[in-house]
Symmetry: C2
Subunit: 453 residues, 2 copies
Amino acid sequence: MARPTPLSGFPELLPSARLVEQHVLDVLREVFELHGFSNIETRAVEPLSVLLRKGEIDKEVYVVRRLQAEAGEESGSSDDLALHFDLTVPFARYVTENAGHLQFPFRRYQIQKVWRGERPQEGRYREFTQADIDVVDRGTLAVHHDADMARVMGEALARLPLPGVTLQVNNRRLVEGFYRGLGLEGDVLTGSIGATMRAVDKLDKVGARGVADLLAQAGLTQAQADGALALAQVRAGAGDLVASVRALGVSHELLDQGLEELLAVLTAVDDLPADRVAVVADLSVARGLDYYTGTVYETRMRGWESLGSICSGGRYDALADDGRDVYPGVGISLGVTRAIIPLLGKGAVRASRPTPTVVVVAVADEAHRRDADRVASALRARGVAAEVSPTAAKFGKQIRFADRRGVPFVWFSQEDGSHEVKDIRSGEQVLADPASWLPPAADLRPTVVLPEA
Amino acid sequence: MARPTPLSGFPELLPSARLVEQHVLDVLREVFELHGFSNIETRAVEPLSVLLRKGEIDKEVYVVRRLQAEAGEESGSSDDLALHFDLTVPFARYVTENAGHLQFPFRRYQIQKVWRGERPQEGRYREFTQADIDVVDRGTLAVHHDADMARVMGEALARLPLPGVTLQVNNRRLVEGFYRGLGLEGDVLTGSIGATMRAVDKLDKVGARGVADLLAQAGLTQAQADGALALAQVRAGAGDLVASVRALGVSHELLDQGLEELLAVLTAVDDLPADRVAVVADLSVARGLDYYTGTVYETRMRGWESLGSICSGGRYDALADDGRDVYPGVGISLGVTRAIIPLLGKGAVRASRPTPTVVVVAVADEAHRRDADRVASALRARGVAAEVSPTAAKFGKQIRFADRRGVPFVWFSQEDGSHEVKDIRSGEQVLADPASWLPPAADLRPTVVLPEA
C-alpha cells in the first residue's frame, strides 16, 4: 500500500491539535448544559427531498447510496439519502418527528459533522464540525429567547481559546421596515426591497460607491439610495442604537418592531466581557436576511476577519411545521472547524503536550512488567494518566521515549520496594509513593496554550 | 410538511436516552485517557478502493457523490468516496499518512459513527457509534500489548452501566497450530484447516453433531474431528488453560506459541472485577480468525447473549503497510450503539432526568426577567445548571413547567431582595442565596439509573 494523500477539504488533526478541538468542544458542552440545553444527535443522512427543499444548496449536497443497491434504482431520485449540510434542517425534522415526546420550549445543543461539496479553501471545508444551540416552541416563541441565544453563545465564545470576537446583530424586520419607510416595495427576494438587500450585501466587496451604483440601477431615487446606505453604515450599542436609526428620519411600524427587538438583544447581553465578546448592532449584516424572519447574528474573530463569520444564526418564525402546528425557533451555530483549524495552522493555539499521559512507568526488565502495571493502576485510581513503558530498554532510552512524546514524568521502582519519580524537564528525581503521588495540578492534563497571550 | 417517519437502521435518541449514551462515552474517554490513549477522529469517507480491499464487506458500503458531480463521471468507479464501515481501516490509513508525525508505539482511541448498508435488526444498525482502542508500532509490536488492550477495555466495561460481561479470548496461532498438530493442511481460508474453522464457527447454530457432520464432509478423520471439536469446547482461566489444552494430546510449535500468548493475556488481566468482567479463554471463538493473526477478543453481555459480541478485536501483524515499513497493531472495538440501544429499549438503563437543568428560576413578571437572569448567572458560576422560566405565568404554572421536564428545584426572588428555593419533589421551600446555594450533590447533574440494580 503506497502512502495515501490527504483528501482536500476533509481535514484530519494530529493528536495534539485534536486535544485543542476536544477542549473547545468540552467548553461548549459545559456552557450549553449550564444553560439547560439538552444534547441530541441526529443521523448523518436525510432524504434528498428534505434537503433540497432549502433551495440554493443543491450543488453542495452529497448523495449517499448503497453500493449494491438494486439494479434499476435510479440515482438522484427524491427517495435517495444525502449527508446533511447543516444541523438546522435535521433539527427541524427531529422536532416534528418527536414533538409528542419533547417539552416546549425545547432547548437543545447539537455538535456534529456536516458535509458540503463546496470548493475547499481556508476556512471552508467539505467535512466540518458545527456546534448549534436552538430553542424552539410550539405556536409562538417569546422574543427574549433571541437575547438568550446571543448570551449563551457569547459566554461560550468568551471562554474559548480564540481571539476576541465581535458578535454582530441585525434584525430583518428593522431593515425591511426601514426600506418600506423609504417607499421601497416587494419583499426580501423581489422588487426594490430584494434588490436593495442584495446590493447592500456587497458593501464589503464593492464599497459604498459600488452599492450606490447598484441601487441606482435598481431604480432607487438618490434619497432612497442614500437612506439604505446610511442604514447599512450604522454600528451601535444599546446606548445609541435608537438615536442612530431615528436620526435617519425614516419611520414605519415594522421598523419600530425590529428596532425594539434588536435593542432588547443588545440590552440583555451588556454583561458579556467586551474585550472577549463585543456585541454590536451592525446594520450592514445582510446575509441570512432572506430566510431568517427577525434577529440575525454573525460573528467575526478580531484579526481573522478574512475567515468571514464563524458563528451565525437567527430567528425563524416557522423553523418547522408538521401540518398541524408551527414551531418557531431561534438559534446560533458555531463553525468549530472553521474557527480553529486556521488558528492551529498559524500556531495561534496549541496543546501543552500531544498525549494525556503524565507519567511513564519504567520497566527494569520484562519479568517486572506486572509490577509496573500495578504502579500505573495505583496512579490511575487517583486520576493520573499513566502508561507503562512499552519496552524494558535501558532507562535512558525509556526517558527519551517519554520525552519525545512530551510526557513530563518517568517513574522508577527499585528492587527494595521504594519508588522515585523524575521530572524530565528539570531532571529532579524524588522519592514517591504510588498510593499518594500527584503531579503538579498544571501537569495533570494537557492544557491549551495561546503562545501570543 | 407532514410528520416525517424514522429511517429504519438510523436510530435517533430522545434527550434522556442521549444522556445515557453521553455518560457511556464520558466513561470510555476517561478510562482510555488514563491509560495514555490519544484521541483522533478520521474523516467519514475513504476512497472506495481502500474500503473494498477488505473484500467481503462490499455489499455494506455506502457510496458518496456530489449531487452535481460533473456529467460523465461514472458512479461506482474506484475514485469514488464511500462512508467508512469501521474505524480500523481509516486508522491504518491515518497511520501511514501521518507516520512521520506520530511517536510509536502509538496508542489511540477513536469514537465515531460508522455506516453499513446491512438489513437492520435488533443490535444491527446502518449508522452506529463505535469506540475503538488500538496500539500500533513500526516493525514489531510486543505481545504484552495484547493483554493491555483487554485490560483497558475490561476496566471501561466494568465501569459502564451495562450488565456484567464475559470477555472471551482466543488465539489464531493456537487454533491453527492445533489443527496442524492434528495433521490438517491449508490455511485459514483454504484446505482442511479453512474448512474446519468455518465448521467450528457454526457450533452455536448447528451444535456439536452438526459440526461433526461438516467435518466429516470436509474429509477429516474421526480422530481429527473429535480433536477439533474438543478444542472448541475448552473454556478455561489462567489456572487451567494449559492443562486443558495439553490434555487433548496435540502438539505443534505454533500451538505452543499461541498457548503462551493466550496465557499471557489471561494472566495479565486477573485483577479485573470478575462479577463485572469475566475473562475466559474460549477456544470456540472463531469469528475473525481469518483476518486477525494472533489474539482475538469477543464480548457478550450476560442475559443479552442474543445480541452477539458487543466488543471485538484482535491482533494484525500488518495493520498497515506503506511500502517501506510494516505497522503491526492490536485493538478492540466496542459497539456502543449495539450495546446500549437494546438496554434503553427494555428500560434496563435510564437517565434520572431528561435535561441538565437542576433549577428553574421563576419570573414574577417580564419586567423582572433581567433579575432572574442575574440569579441564574450567579448559580451557573458555581456549576449549577439553571434555566430562567420561559414565561412569567402564574407560579403554579412555572412549577408545573419545571416538573414536567424533571427539574427538581424552582427558585423564587422576592421584592425585598430575599430568595427562596423549592424542592418540588418534597414541596419543601427554604431561604437561599444565589451566591452560595448548591443542590444536593446527587441532584447536581442527571445521573444514570439502573432500575434493576
